[in-house]
Amino acid sequence: MFSRYRDALLWFAFALLAAAGFWWAGRRHEPPATPGRAVISWYVIITPLRDLYMAEVAAFEKLNPEIEVQIFWVPGSEYNVKLKTLAAAHQLPDLFFSGDVWVSYLRPFSRDLTPLVQRDAAEFGLDDFFPEIRRAMQLDGKDYILPEYVNLSLLYYNRRMFAAAGLPEPTADWTWDDLVRAGQALTHEGQDGAPPVWGSSRVEGWWGEWLIYVRQAGGKAFSPDGHRCLLDSREAITGLRFYLEKSSKHHISAPAGFEPLNGFVNQRVAMIVGGHINYWVNYNQTLGLDWDVQLLPTGPASRSGGELAIAGYSISQESRHPEEAWALAKFLTRPEAIAAVVARGNLSVRRSVAETVMGAPGPHANPRHLAAAYRQFAFGEPIPHHPNYIEIMLTVVQPEIDRMLLGELTPEEAGRRAAAAVNAFLATFDPAKP
């Protein structure tokens, strides 16, 4: 009797085993939520401020015992890919770190925060955010990010190297010519086999520096509607030429490929045009590095052109706990939280915090010209809101700029080739194109 059904039983057992295996592999691993508490997930980039965030979350949970926050730390280099993958799988966390450079891409998955911002404007002090930050928060008049950080292009300089060369420190009325003159005075061959010291660094591999010159020369990367690349314009080419000639003509920057590693920190580079606020923490931890900032030197057409980029918090479109996530976002961007972030070496997105810090600088002596940094807000330009901005700039435009630096292309050829390539890309991939 048993042998008659043995085949069927064994097949059934086999199928059952396979099904159990798939179930076990695919089951969720999160611990069950405590009854009566809403669990919200928060994706955040691993940062030196990790301890600060942990403390903030603990304080938030204490204030809001009905909300539990699960933090997922993600390495910065993988953050975007993970976020996109989660978006594609409709598994975005309730709250995630976002920025104006990503918001166009993530807009379909990000909750429109405008109603919440308007509703709680008085409570969390909407007017306290700098107007430039307010503008950068918005995309087509809607809010998608509650900002916590700002990055701003500035002129960074080494005070000790300026003093050693007998040079006055940069002033707010500097032009490109002043940059070149000081750079030449600061550049010198290393003595006794020591490597050379350069007046100015040159940021290679991304748009951090050359786009400043393009804009200050009166050029633009894209047309206002974002459908056409304008790097072949006369103004843009003037900017690209200055970027190239920093090494090829003025000899204030290392030739392409020879930029000293961490040159500013190692005091082998006296100035940086552009830079990144994120490095302030490192600069302040470097013994013997006496540094400061100033407004960017003015270009032939404009002082404006430096980058003003914000980063902060977005809430998933599919979040089941948007109110709780919004409460956490507000908590993380309240004046006290911003002040804690600023105390570690950052610029403030809130005016009240900036004013306090400028009145009493806190533990770090540098930068001394904090007022200049906040003044630069007025001359910063947001990153173009285009879903493929990063890809276009890094993979389509940048190789042509690299070839220009290496002497393979003239600035005219680089601008023309880059524009043509971007326009071909836009014709194929631009989802915003009508």
């Binding site: 993979t395 690299d402 070839r403 290496l406």
Partner: protein, 299 residues
């Protein structure tokens, strides 16, 4: 259950998991990617059928496609003969009856157990333009070294040099082949007055030709699929975009990865994957056809 049915049952019981695994994790994704190669699929929205547009874009408009093909082919054409030659030369040396032969074999094989990524990082420091070990040594001799890792002229040759450290596996296979060559043939040739080169040319090479062929086929496929070395090199050089400078190290595999997981152009990346598959298939087929002329199986 009769014997035949029982045999069938036990066959499927043991082979089943592998078959299911292959079907679920290889065959199905392959067929899915074939379908996606005809679609516009940016992951965040459902795939949209666009016919051959991905292929047309790759051939006619994509600025990174042809440079990545060129980088990969140049790498293959230069690296493969060098790698095979180095592995064979070392195998011949390590096949000699010298004291501590086992120790030397282990020493020369050791680099192969390290991931390519490790070489990319370590050699990245050696070849660094500013303050790298090589340029410091050259400077002692009054030579101004090149920007080895950041110059489009030198970055690929540097990667070829780095990749040669993976000679251990073909070397071991060559050693196995060399040990199967009958000693009597060498002795007979020696008696007939054949010199070392003649013995190598007319005995060793023909008799290890199947092993050479195996290493060439595997090496060729490996060279066309290079990814980890190039990716780790980019990371070690802190390149904002892998494949720099100016696409000089943009290998096909790296470009495919970037399109798929950097920018989520999954349709385009699928088309690239199928083009690579087709190319490897054709090259391997040609390899097998040509091998009939120079590979001797002793039958």
């Amino acid at each position: 259950m009769n014997h035949r049915r029982a045999e069938t049952f036990w066959f499927w019981l043991f082979a089943g998991p592998a078959v299911v695994g292959f079907a679920a994790f290889s065959l199905w994704p392959m067929l899915e990617s074939l379908w996606l190669s005809f679609c516009s699929y940016e992951v965040i929205a459902p795939p949209r059928f666009i016919g051959l547009q991905n292929y047309a874009y790759l051939f006619a408009h994509d600025l990174s496609f042809w440079p990545s093909v060129k980088v990969t082919l140049v790498f293959t054409v230069i690296q493969l003969p060098l790698a095979i030659g180095a592995a064979l030369a070392l195998a011949l040396l390590l096949n000699q009856p010298v004291r501590g032969r086992g120790f030397w074999r282990a020493v020369y094989f050791l680099p192969s157990i390290l991931p390519q990524a490790v070489f990319a990082v370590v050699f990245g420091y050696i070849f660094q333009a500013d303050g790298g070990l090589l340029n410091r040594l050259l400077a002692l001799g009054g030579i101004h070294g090149a920007a080895w890792t950041t110059s489009p002229t030198w970055a690929l040759p540097v990667l070829i040099v780095i990749s040669l450290w993976g000679f251990g596996y073909p070397m071991v296979i060559f050693l196995g082949g060399l040990q199967n060559v009958p000693r009597e043939l060498y002795e007979a040739a020696h008696i007939d007055g054949a010199g070392a080169w003649a013995r190598f040319r007319h005995i060793t090479l023909p008799l290890i030709s199947p092993v050479i062929f195996f290493n060439v086929v595997m090496g060729l496929i490996g060279s066309l699929k290079v990814f980890d070395l190039a990716y780790a090199f980019s990371v070690a050089q802190a390149q904002p975009t892998p494949g720099g400078p100016a696409r000089a190290t943009l290998f096909y595999g790296l470009n495919l990865y970037q399109q798929a997981f950097g920018y989520f152009h999954m349709g385009l990346a699928s088309a690239m994957a199928w083009l690579l598959f087709a190319f490897i298939l054709v090259v391997t087929f040609i390899n097998f056809r040509v091998s009939r002329r120079w590979v001797h199986y002793g039958d």
